[in-house]
């Protein structure tokens, strides 16, 4: 039952694509479904495909983990030291308000094309993670904290049995939405920075030679990559949260 609806909606989407491509009938504007998938199939046989995919995946994961570690550490510190929270809040608010394109263009100016996507993601993903983690930590039921204190429970046991499990659901929800956003931003940054060995650069090249079907093939790869990473997080969430 769970798989029926996604199949129907995907089928409908492909059908619309098929009909629009047939109606427009200009390969450059709307490539045919068959052409796009045969292009995808051809890409799968090329070494450069895996190098680009690997490069983007590596940058996505690296920036994601840097943002994650930074957000966790600062959220914990902010919880225990209110001054840090008060100091960080305006900075985080400003960073959140900066238009994504400004961040991308500025970091491309500041850093070389290999590293700018990392910094861009940090700017965009970190504030989201930090705010959500901080809310998660501070929303732990104060009565449960009082109960634990009354029963003289060790700090270590409180962290592992009370704090972390309470934060876990919102933690994984944040990771789940952040990871696909991360892939999108990394690819945008790669396009603009023309990062070597990246999906973004391949997309830019496809556009440059007006190969729209290849551009769409890369888009499908990007969607699948996000879907895959999101599902890895859902799987970890299921393994961790069993209550």
């Amino acid at each position: 039952m769970n798989i029926v609806y996604p199949i129907i909606s995907l089928g409908l989407l492909v059908l619309v694509w098929f009909l629009v491509a047939k109606a427009v009938d200009i390969q450059l504007i709307v490539p045919r479904v068959g052409d796009t998938f045969s292009k995808l199939w051809r890409l799968l046989g090329e070494n450069s495909f895996y190098l680009a995919l690997g490069g983007t995946l590596w940058r996505s994961l690296l920036s994601f983990f840097i943002a994650l570690v930074l957000a966790i550490l600062l959220a914990i510190i902010s919880n225990f030291i209110p001054v840090i929270y008060k100091l960080l809040t305006p900075i985080v608010t400003i960073i959140r308000a900066i238009p994504t394109m400004s961040v991308i263009l500025l970091t491309i100016i500041w850093l070389n094309s290999d590293y700018s996507p990392l910094l861009i993601t940090l700017f965009i993903i970190f504030p989201i993670m930090y705010s959500n983690f901080y809310t998660g930590i501070t929303s732990v039921d104060s009565e449960l904290i009082e109960m634990s204190k009354a029963y003289n429970v060790r700090k270590k046991d409180m962290i592992f049995s009370l704090y972390l499990p309470n934060i876990a659901p919102s933690f994984f929800d944040t990771l789940q939405s952040a990871i696909s956003l991360n892939v999108k931003i990394i690819i945008s940054a790669e396009v603009l920075a023309q990062t070597k060995l990246s999906m973004g650069l391949m997309m830019k090249l496809s556009k440059g030679i007006l190969d729209t079907s290849e551009l769409l093939a890369w888009t499908i790869v990007a969607i699948l990559l996000s879907y895959f990473l999101e599902n890895v997080i859902i799987l970890i969430k299921k393994l961790v949260i069993r209550w």
Binding site: D141, E143, L144, K149, A150, N152, D157, P165, W243
Partner: protein, 229 residues
């Protein structure tokens, strides 16, 4: 245990002004009073969850059990793990903890539910776990904050009887805060009625043991409490 010259305020509201009281060991002291008179604050001061501006608590046990109105079980831990959670920082060895938990779950008739998570339990079962936690914890003092509030009549009766059974085996000094006069007459060895600012309106001991008590014989006391509360 003795509270001496306790002074506590929240913002500008003075909850206790020079409050002093002795609590009898191995007895149940019931504290009655209208909402906001500081009953829970008193328990929290004794538990050390909050501190008073001035005053001292003398002869307090290092280890205290606390039974709350909301059972306050950790939703991510099974019944067994919830009990183990409070026992890890005690002198008990791992084997001893296991033995104690099995014994108390047997007493509260929840042995089959050891591996259940709180959301799989009914309200009555969760309150039984909460009682089990209080009695398995090696404390000398039990603080109870309206633990029977919100339970239907028959469930309340069963849980109160279960409390008596556990208390019969292990008579820890108990301070029981409630707004329900009947509960205090059923379980109290001593009944105290508090007013605003920690003023004591009534302080009566009941000679009859809670195990052989005829509640009807306390009609005069009931009427007296009704009149002042």
């Amino acid at each position: 245990m003795q509270l001496t010259n306790i002074y506590k305020k929240f913002d500008k509201k003075v909850v206790f002004e020079d409050f002093s009281m002795n609590f009898d060991e191995h007895k149940i002291t019931c504290i009655l009073g209208k909402s906001g008179c500081g009953k829970t604050t008193l328990l929290n001061i004794i538990a050390g969850v909050i501190t008073a501006e001035s005053g001292v608590v003398v002869g307090k046990s290092e280890k205290i059990s606390y039974i709350f109105q909301n059972q306050l079980l950790l939703k991510n831990l099974t019944v067994y793990k919830n009990l183990e959670y409070v026992l890890k920082n005690t002198v008990f060895s791992k084997e001893e903890i296991n033995k104690q938990i099995k014994a108390i779950l047997d007493k509260v008739q929840l042995s089959e539910y050891a591996k259940y998570y709180p959301k799989q339990l009914s309200g009555g079962m969760a309150q039984r776990v909460s009682l089990a936690r209080a009695f398995v914890y090696p404390s000398d003092l039990i603080l109870m904050d309206e633990p029977f509030k919100g339970l239907d009549v028959s469930l309340k009766k069963r849980i109160m009887n279960l409390f008596k059974d556990l208390y019969r085996d292990n008579s820890k000094t108990t301070i029981f805060v409630t707004h329900d006069i009947e509960e205090s007459l059923i379980l109290g060895d001593r009944i105290i009625v508090l007013d605003d600012g920690g003023k004591i309106l009534l302080d009566k001991k009941i000679a009859q043991s809670i195990f052989e008590r005829d509640i009807n014989s306390l009609a005069d006391l009931r009427a007296e409490i009704y009149n002042i509360i």
